[in-house]
């Protein structure tokens, strides 16, 4: 058997003739050129800004949980670390470009992620999931307790710095978020196709077999925590700087961590586009619910009732997805696409 003379055939997309990069490219082009044609300030600030930040956080968590199989309930903590780190780099390092602040913030989040990922070397399953809660509570406590982090602001709520002249206004902030999200998503999509990405899945699917096959299991787990926390940290920066435009610990509570976990479950574990589909649903759902509620029940449908019905709906959605579509919206989309293709006469 000769190993050198075997040619490398192009990987064929499972769907068929269409190259796999075409659809994502079309979406990116539309996001840059199409959306600004019709988007209102409301669409930018109330929908697209949180959507982009949550999508990115979900991409990050998906690397850790979906691909590498390590369940984390502490995502919001890493978002908080990113947001606060970027704020402090920006505040305390004279002349540091905003982009550099964000990259450094991601690296800090990454380092914190590795520290809280250390238990994964000995703990598995629920024991690990519970241990990630330590990150959630410890980080939240630290940021509230030590006012240095919020520059001794008495309310603890601080204004995020502006994104700079180029990215002013809703449209500018959108372009900024979009560019960060596109860059990191392309990175993530590439990553999961490399040997490192295969190692993640191998560790997830069978840790013992992975170890015996030569996958450096401990290194791989910590790397998953590091990369995931970097991306989630940057998502935290987008959340604070481009969406809320304030930095405060309360926005990064346990509910936020669960929300990101729900996004990847609803969207589909171990898929990149699932993170976006899930985030879209989670962002749009309360808006639709609010409109529908007011329409149906009028003034009885106040913010308290909305809050509760939203909780019930999100919880129920999770259960329904786990039972009926465990592979999430991504798989649902695939099935619908396949059915459409079968039906269309041209194909």
């Amino acid at each position: 058997m000769t190993t050198a003379s075997i040619p490398l055939p192009r990987p064929v997309s499972a769907i068929g003739r269409v190259p796999t990069w075409l659809l994502p490219l079309a979406v990116i082009v539309f996001a840059y050129a199409g959306i600004p044609l019709f988007a209102s300030d409301y669409l930018y600030d109330a929908i697209l800004a949180p959507f982009l930040a949550l999508s990115l956080a979900a991409v990050g968590l998906n690397i850790l949980t979906g691909y590498a199989g390590q369940v984390s309930l502490g995502s919001a903590a890493f978002m908080a670390v990113g947001a606060y780190a970027a704020y402090n780099f920006n505040l305390r390092v004279e002349g540091l470009p905003l982009l550099a602040s964000i990259v450094f913030a991601g690296l800090i989040a990454s380092a914190v992620g590795v520290v809280f990922g250390l238990p994964s070397l000995r703990l598995k399953g629920f024991y690990l999931a519970v241990s990630t809660l330590a990150a959630q509570f410890f980080v939240q406590w630290t940021l509230t307790k030590f006012s240095w982090f919020s520059n001794y602001n008495p309310s603890g709520v601080i204004d995020a710095p502006a994104l700079g002249y180029v990215f002013e206004g809703p449209h500018g902030r959108y372009l900024f978020s979009l560019s960060v999200v596109v860059a990191l998503t392309v990175f993530a999509a590439r990553l999961v196709k490399t040997q490192t990405g295969r190692n993640f899945i191998a560790v997830r699917d069978n840790e013992t077999a992975a170890k015996i096959s030569g996958v450096p299991v401990l290194h791989t787990k910590l790397l998953a925590f590091a990369i995931s926390s970097f991306i989630i940290g940057v998502a935290g920066v987008l959340w604070a700087f481009a969406y809320l435009r304030t930095v405060e610990p309360h926005g990064f509570n346990l509910d936020r961590s669960f929300q990101i976990l729900f996004i990847i479950i609803i969207g589909g574990l171990a898929t990149i586009r699932g993170a976006f589909l899930g985030a879209a649903l989670i962002v749009v759902l309360p808006l639709v619910l609010s409109r529908a509620g007011t329409f149906l029940f009028g003034s009885y449908f106040d913010s308290g009732v909305l809050d509760m019905s939203q909780r019930i709906l999100v919880g129920a959605l999770i259960i329904v997805f786990l039972i009926a579509e465990p592979d999430g919206l991504a798989a649902l989309g695939n099935r619908i696409a396949r059915r459409l293709r079968l039906r269309s006469p041209t194909n």
Binding site: L8, Q195, I201, A209, K211, I212, G214
Partner: protein, 284 residues
């Protein structure tokens, strides 16, 4: 007794290995789980290029032995020498670098990966590029990826898996999955290959094909093979030497002919497992 037939001719004949070098040496290896002894005081030698079968009834400790050699279990006593390095406890994370690869009794593939990706994972230990180099796809990362791909494709072709190359392994039939496991083990080009019932549950045709792959693996790179198999016909035809386990102890060790003639083996093992082994063999 006439219950064993050698089907040597069908698989090209067992080659008598040049007993030049010792690849694996077990001395006094003992393993117990919470007071129940799985294997007790086992000595075992495997020479370079040798096909070494381990047989015995269910629960005799065969799989435990392979798990000890590959560092999945830590033995209570005894030593395991791999080449010239002596271990009291083989470190599982270094097994691949030591040149050991294995398959599993209950398939242990990565369900979320395709056949090709599963096989590529068998080269994980050879990767030295960082994830950033891999993502950008420059320099040694590109070379490593191309090398991994080429070697994996070659093994996939050799094991007749080309048609299912891009399928998720979970969707494949049992026999094919067993072959993917062998491919994942072979792609690392091990000097010691541990096969835990590679032909269990296969049809006669599949078994014959698998036996051919095993022989080819040995002949191509002079790898040593430790083989656990229930089908006596396959074992007799394929192996250079056979060790027989019963209740965790080694009761016989030698060439197929010697083992077949050994009264203790006939009493303890062949007698016990009489029923299913005869049935299995009659299909071959």
């Amino acid at each position: 007794m006439g219950l064993v037939s050698t089907n040597v001719a069908e698989w090209g004949g067992a080659k008598s290995a040049a007993r030049s070098r010792q690849i694996l040496t077990l001395r006094g290896v003992t393993l117990s789980f919470g007071g129940v002894t799985a294997i007790s005081d086992i000595d075992l030698d495997v020479a370079e290029g040798e096909i070494r079968a381990i047989i015995g009834p269910n629960g005799a400790g065969k799989s435990s032995l392979i798990n000890v050699i590959s560092g999945v279990y830590r033995p209570d006593r005894g030593t395991i020498a791999i080449g010239d390095t002596v271990f009291a406890d083989v470190p599982g994370s270094r097994v691949a670098r030591l040149g050991i690869a294995r398959t599993y009794q209950n398939i242990a593939l990565f369900k979320g990966l395709t056949v090709l990706e599963n096989v590529e994972t068998g080269r994980a230990a050879t990767v030295s590029s960082t994830f950033i180099e891999q993502v950008i796809g420059i320099g040694r990362a590109r070379r490593e990826e191309a090398d991994t791909r080429a070697r994996s494709e070659a093994v996939i072709d050799a094991l007749h898996l080309t048609s299912v190359r891009d399928r998720l392994v979970g969707t494949l039939p049992y026999g094919v999955q067993k072959r993917v496991e062998l491919a994942r083990a072979l792609v690392s080009e091990p000097r010691l290959l541990l096969l835990d019932e590679p032909m269990a549950g296969m049809t006669a045709g599949e078994k014959q094909e698998m036996a051919g792959f095993v022989l080819a693996a040995r002949d191509r790179s002079n790898a040593s093979i430790v083989l656990i198999e229930h089908d006596i016909g396959v074992v007799m035809g394929l192996s250079d030497r056979i060790a027989v386990l019963d209740y965790g102890r080694k009761i016989a060790d030698g060439t197929p002919d010697a083992v077949r003639a050994d009264q203790r083996v006939i009493d303890a093992y062949l007698g016990v497992a009489h029923d299913d082994d005869i049935i299995e063999e009659s299909h071959v």
